[in-house]
């Protein structure tokens, strides 16, 4: 049965809690990032551990914005436990299947088998971010001004890869797709409308399941256009207070956010408890808010900090 996120989260008496959480489980399980992301059994073990250990309200794959870029030929660098980064861009993107994308698809399948009625969320990368990861953002933006047709061709190729991958993730059983598009926050509204939004729309209209857009960074100026991409919600970071975002968006539009991952890593649990209350108090009574982090939680974050975050959210009544 298809899960409708808005309906699913509406009946919670407390705020639902779905932080961008995965990498802190790696040191706990002594599984490296590279092992985890290339082996679906290990990736599943990590995602299941996160879900059971922290008792969050959705199963999630790990956020990795190098998947599609690697499928297009970029080279990826792996540290022991943190999210991968692009090591080398590619001049001419060429679509290919990678071990990592295959492992992601199998992980989603296994998570869905495990989840029963709980939602399984899976990340893909927004076309503009994926294109920037593939050929380099500066090159992409420059190309758009100097050789607009070449830039469009590249964005279309990247979009096709994102779409193909997203469809496979959906077919594997993901209940909702989170489109991670952090690089779009570098764009002015005008540039967002040129470089990012049309391609996002193109991806989202292909999906049968619901999608959430994750844009961390200063993205308040883009909020007004986000619903037009076809997503049912947005995931934002600490640069935009949740209440401010809710004023721009219609009341049935889901807003995930927005605890600073840097503060979650650094602060003491008692400070985190207080700050979670400060984050959620202004949006009490709103049924479209899902408590999350502004971005990916770093691997070194102490487990007691993550627990303080989740437990505090769970103890705050929505009304």
């Amino acid at each position: 049965m298809q899960i409708i996120l808005r309906e699913h989260f509406k009946n919670f008496e407390r705020f639902p809690v779905v932080p961008i959480l995965g990498y802190p489980a790696l040191p706990a399980l002594k599984i490296t990032t590279q092992e985890c992301l290339h082996n679906f059994e290990k990736h599943f073990k990590v995602a299941k551990y996160v879900f059971q250990e922290y008792e969050i309200d959705s199963l999630l794959t790990l956020l990795d914005i190098t998947v599609e870029a690697e499928m297009l030929g970029a080279q990826v660098n792996y540290t022991t436990y943190d999210a991968p980064q692009i090591k080398k861009h590619v001049e001419e993107p060429k679509h290919m299947e990678t071990e990592k994308m295959k492992a992601y698809i199998k992980t989603v399948k296994k998570l869905k088998e495990f989840s029963k009625n709980l939602p399984v969320g899976a990340y893909i990368t927004g076309p503009f971010t994926a294109a920037g990861q593939t050929i380099g953002i500066e090159k992409l933006v420059k190309l758009y001004y100097m050789e607009p047709e070449s830039a469009k061709t590249i964005l279309e190729e990247v979009t096709q890869t994102v779409k193909d991958y997203a469809r496979e993730i959906e077919d594997a059983g993901a209940d909702y797709i989170i489109v991670a598009d952090p690089t779009s926050s570098l764009l002015s509204l005008e540039h967002f409308r040129r470089f990012s939004k049309p391609y996002l729309k193109d991806v989202i209209k292909e999906l049968e399941k619901e999608a959430i857009l994750h844009i961390c960074g200063k993205s308040k100026h883009l909020l007004q256009d986000v619903p037009e991409t076809g997503v049912v919600g947005i995931s934002i970071d600490q640069n935009i207070p949740l209440y401010e975002a809710s004023k721009v968006l219609r009341e049935d539009f889901l807003i995930f956010g927005n605890y600073s991952p840097a503060n979650l890593e650094r602060d003491e649990p008692n400070i985190i408890r207080e700050n979670v209350k400060i984050m959620l108090n202004p949006v009490k009574g709103m049924t479209n808010i899902v408590a999350s982090t502004g971005c990916d939680i770093p691997a070194k974050t102490p487990p007691e900090n993550i627990k303080a975050f989740v437990d505090t959210v769970k103890n705050i009544k929505r009304k």
């Binding site: 660098n77 540290t79 943190d82 980064q85 692009i86 090591k87 953002i137 500066e138 933006v141 420059k142 001004y145 100097m146 570098l186 764009l187 002015s188 540039h191 470089f195 960074g217 100026h221 991952p261 840097a262 890593e265 650094r266 770093p298 691997a299 070194k300």
Partner: protein, 215 residues
Amino acid sequence: MSKDELLNAIRDSIVNLDFDKSKEYTLKALETGATPQEIILKSIAEGMEIVGKKFEASEYFLSELIVAGEIGKEITKILEPYLKGGEIKKIGKVVIGTVRGDLHDIGKNIVAMMLEAAEFKVIDLGADVPPEKFVEAVKQEKPDIVGMSALLTVTMVEMKNVIEALKEAGLRDKVKVIIGGAAVTEDYAKSIGADGYGANAVEGVRICKQWITRK
């Protein structure tokens, strides 16, 4: 158009993010006797200053800074053959890099580009730069300023390691240290003993200019 009008037109084409016009006016300005130095000072530097102000007013975002910077680079390429080996006077020297473990270099690249437009000589060490490489560059290049960038919370701790390494090498008091990047805050900059924190590229460049003019 007169020479001054052309210099202004180049400046405006940078501000309006117009690659084609910027090239056309640069070539015309050279034909009317404008020197590369004049184009760099009156067109590129002033143009980037205006772009920076638009950025601070949230009229422009990072993508516009990138485009304006790329136009500046293209103009500089046109000017190279006209420089006749003559160096353009620089106001100061900055060694800049993204710290070890962090491969995100867009923020650092924008700062480097804007520093160059503001007449600094920039030694760009790239991304994933270990502390010893910063120390080596300070020894060799004798810069006025060291700039460090980090996007990730997991890598920003490296900034402290660079400052410690500069201290150990006896070089800390020879340079000003400025840091920036998505993960970094002013409090963090103070806590590790940096001299400055740039919340964005424009502010970072302004701080560097202030340091140089106060020298």
